[in-house]
């Protein structure tokens, strides 16, 4: 199907519908989610638009709903689960809901303030109660003047100090801590102390007020105190009852509101969206017709038409809406139809730049090349297996993770299929590198064998073993190397060889260059597909052909050298280095001896270099010169028409010169960027080698430093130590090797796609298709 390989064909459509059916029609279109409304009033500011009052009303209602939701959540009332209501919000619903919301808000605010006042009274009464309780203990020192009150516990030392300073020790201060009762369910339990100060003078009251301590009048004699206590206790009981009733009433109101909360929320959202959309449309003079312009995919025109007819039928209007497709020169938005699997890959492409209209879409190829390049850098089947299982868990429990509403986890969940594929491909490359938690599997039997190195076959004796610390297996001794390479992957003997890295580095570097050149050639080929689609055959000859020939003659030849050297048997001491061969080829230096891989190497190389160098002026000059000639022809043709206006001729001539310089500069930049870019991008692909080396080394270090320490302990508690160490190994593997290395390899694979691959063909300067869609709004919640 064509639609995912490039973006869909869009059309601009004019809609005419009656004002009465506007709400229903836009509602239907919103449910369909396939049209993007164009702004027909681009000059007007937000508050000049027609329906700005209604939008404000909707925003006010949203605020009230948020307030309600906060209150409901604070009181721990469960909100019943979501149900989709298909009720269409009509304008009279707005007024109805608005009045209801206002009433609810008023009620709730009143209840809250009443409750706060009651609570305050309650606290005061309880404090008086405590005060009276401990007062008797203080009254061994009878004095006329005293002040009693309650102060916050942490302020008490400062209070005491102030009193000392004031009265020079001429006072008696007693305090006791209030032990909170179980029934007191204060919002924030603050520790308070009861205090009594026996002192002369009245300045004490001012000081107490400054400390935000509350004073209570306390009667002198015991009888009055007892009476006061009974009084206070009765009042406490009354208040408790009233508070309980208030709480119950509040809870009933909130529960009733909570039942409808979600339905109201979705209604208000839809209405706001509809009014917002109506703001984008034009209303004609008679106030009876609404004109809208929409972008819509050509293949969906029928469904849009059906939705509109449905909407107008629902509103009971007589006329069906008119759908009129118009031609336009404007660039349509880019629309790529995605499903839940492809949306992750499309979003990482769009993060760099949304493609031009109907440009080729790199996403389908990215679905394979991105996990593959990641896996080349990650390459460990044990870690790949853990990553795959983690991704599987994400995929299966997707809704549970989405409910957590954490941004990082949301990002992980959006990319769950990407992570799953990355893990699968990593298992594959791990099997190729024969690396599982830094150990190799020996499935088929190694092709190298040590026994033939001993006498009588080979040179080793028992003395050789005792003398040297390092021994070389010589493949020229018969039987050491069986002649058949290990069937799948790297031979496991390399895992225990000390020169493992010399072999693996050479292998991985050459492999990275081969993959890089292949990826870039694929990118250049995609540019050919673009040229053919846009009927730009001129550019095929002027840009595509020289680009391809340049890349093939230099880097294609490099690939050929690598593959040739791998396939042909030669003695390793006398094998020429490909790097030196390549450098000498560019410098035309054929003086050193024995530097040929095959017989006709010199003429072939000279030919290829000359061809590559010839491509540079072709790229640089051919296109501008052709354009110059075309402009001159046009100018020549238009000269008789411009002769009448001398000023016009001069202007045309000046503009011709300016644009020529522009074209030359642009083409020069493009040529330099491409040719130098070929070299630097090929070298850039060596990061595939670098990161896979880093990953392998980190994995080995983790095994050697963590797990091996526990494995080498064979005495008594070895197994317990092993169990503990394994937990540390697992945690470190996940954090360092999976998270850190995974992110690093992800980033580098992404960079290779965005820069090295896409700069060969992708322009990426379009704008994204954003349809009016109620489903999308609900998911974005």
């Amino acid at each position: 199907m064509d639609s995912f390989f490039r973006s869909e064909e869009m059309c601009l459509v004019q809609l005419f519908f009656q004002t009465e059916s506007a709400h229903n029609c836009i509602n239907e279109l919103g449910h369909l989610g396939l049209v993007q409304f164009k702004d027909l009033n681009p000059g007007t500011v937000a508050f000049q638009r027609r329906f700005v009052k209604e939008v404000k009303k909707c925003e006010e209602m949203e605020r009230i709903l948020r307030f309600l939701e906060n209150e409901v959540v604070k009181s721990n009332i469960p909100i019943p689960a979501d149900f989709t209501s298909e009720t269409i919000p009509v304008p009279r619903d707005v007024l109805d809901l608005e009045s209801r919301f206002d009433k609810l808000e008023q009620e709730l605010k009143e209840i809250n303030s009443n409750r706060d006042t009651l609570r305050q009274n309650f606290t005061q009464l309880m404090e008086i109660n405590h005060l009276l309780k401990v007062f008797d203990a203080f009254l061994f020192y009878l004095h006329d003047r005293f002040v009693a009150g309650v102060i916050k516990h942490e302020r008490f030392p400062a209070f005491e100090k102030i009193l000392w300073r004031l009265f020079h020790g001429n006072f008696v201060l007693r305090h006791a801590e209030i032990k909170p009762h179980e029934e007191e369910n204060m919002a924030d339990p603050v520790k308070k102390d009861v205090f009594v100060v026996f002192v002369q003078g009245d300045q004490i009251r001012g000081k107490i007020r400054k400390f935000h301590a509350s004073m209570y009048p306390c009667p002198n004699n015991a009888y009055a105190r007892k009476e006061m206590r009974t009084n206070v206790n009765t009042r406490i009981e009354d208040l408790r009852l009233v508070l309980k009733r208030t709480e119950e009433f509040r809870e009933t109101t909130l529960t009733a509101a909570a039942a409808n909360l979600q339905e109201w929320a979705s209604k208000v959202k839809k209405m706001k969206a509809i009014y917002y959309t109506l703001n984008l449309c034009n209303i004609d003079i008679t106030q009876k017709l609404i004109v809208a312009e929409i972008w819509c995919p050509v293949s969906d025109l029928n469904s849009v038409h059906t939705a509109l007819i449905h909407g107008s039928e629902q509103s009971g209007s007589s006329l069906s809406p008119v759908v009129n497709r118009i031609q336009t020169q404007q660039t349509p938005p880019t629309f790529n139809r995605v499903n839940s699997f492809t949306s992750g890959f499309q979003s990482i492409i769009d993060a760099y730049g949304v493609g031009n209209y109907q440009e080729i879409n790199p996403a389908p190829y990215t679905m394979v090349t991105f996990p593959f390049l990641f896996a080349v850098m990650f390459g460990d089947c044990g870690h790949g297996l853990v990553m795959t299982l983690l991704a599987l868990w994400l995929i299966l429990h997707q809704e549970h993770f989405r409910k957590l509403k954490n941004e990082l986890i949301d990002m992980l969940v959006d990319g769950r299929y990407i992570i799953f594929l990355m893990g699968l491909f990593s298992i594959y490359t791990g099997l190729i590198y024969n690396d599982c938690f830094s150990k190799s599997f020996n499935v088929f039997g190694s092709s190298w064998s040590v026994r033939p190195m001993f006498h009588p076959h080979g040179p080793w004796t028992n003395d050789t073993l005792h003398d040297s610390g390092h021994l070389h297996l010589d493949p020229l001794v018969s039987g050491v190397y069986s002649g058949n390479p290990y069937p799948f992957g790297v031979d496991p003997i390399w895992n225990i060889a000390s020169n493992k890295l010399s072999f693996l580095n050479s292998y991985k570097m050459k492999m990275s260059v081969i993959m890089g050149v292949a990826h870039m050639l694929f990118g250049v080929t995609l540019s050919l597909v673009n040229y053919i689609f846009f009927r730009n055959l001129k550019d095929v000859a002027l840009q595509f052909i020289p680009e391809v020939i340049f890349m093939l003659s230099l880097f294609g030849y490099l690939i050929f050298l690598i593959l040739y050297k791998w396939c042909v048997v030669m003695k390793s001491e006398s094998a020429p280095s490909i790097l030196l061969l390549f450098i000498n080829m560019m410098l035309f230096d054929y003086s050193s001896e024995g530097t040929v891989l095959y017989r006709t190497q010199k003429p072939v190389q000279i030919f290829l270099v000359v061809v590559a160098v010839l491509m540079v002026p072709w790229l640089l000059f051919a296109k501008p010169l052709l354009l110059y000639r075309k402009h001159k022809q046009l100018k020549f043709l238009s000269l008789p028409f411009c002769l009448s206006l001398f000023f016009g001729v001069k202007k045309a001539f000046v503009s011709l010169q300016v644009s020529m310089a522009d074209i030359f500069v642009y083409q020069g930049i493009h040529t330099i960027e491409y040719c130098l870019g070929c070299i630097s991008n090929t070298a850039s692909y060596l990061r595939l080698w670098a990161l896979s080396l880093a990953h392998a080394e980190l994995s080995e270090v983790l095994w050697k430093m963590v797990l091996q320490v526990a494995l080498r302990v064979t005495s008594g508690m070895g197994s317990v130590l092993l169990a503990v160490t394994f937990a540390a190994f697992a945690v470190l593997t996940v954090t360092i090797l999976l998270v850190m290395e995974g992110l690093s390899a992800f980033l580098h694979a992404l960079r290779l796609h965005w820069v090295e691959f896409q700069n060969k063909f992708y322009k990426g300067s379009g704008y994204k298709f954003t349809p009016l869609s109620f489903n999308r709004m609900r998911d974005m919640q």
């Binding site: 681009p42 092993l722 394994f726 937990a727």
Partner: protein
Amino acid sequence: MPSLLFCGPKMAACGIVISIWGVIMLVMLGIFFSAKSAVLIEDVPFTEEDIRNDKNPPGTIYGLYNQVGINCFIAAAIYVAVGAVSLCQGHLVIARNWLNGQHYSFRFSSLDLHTNSG
């Protein structure tokens, strides 16, 4: 009776995951050690004397291999126990959550519409 629950839901989940991984990986390591795999030679604690003074080569090395293998199996058994404990804790957590009633929560955020400059 005091609750047997001592770790939260996240700890229980971590415990289950690590024990499953531990059991599988340690059992496989044990099998490979018992099969005297050459790739694991670095993990076996042999010394020069072991090789030189061996009456019946390579008997000592094989014995060491078997010892390490048995260590791995015992560690795997420890992880089976840890896994069972974590599973119990997980069940207790779920039971406690069910008893306390479940919470529905939904977040309502105001609409954020895109504008396009057409």
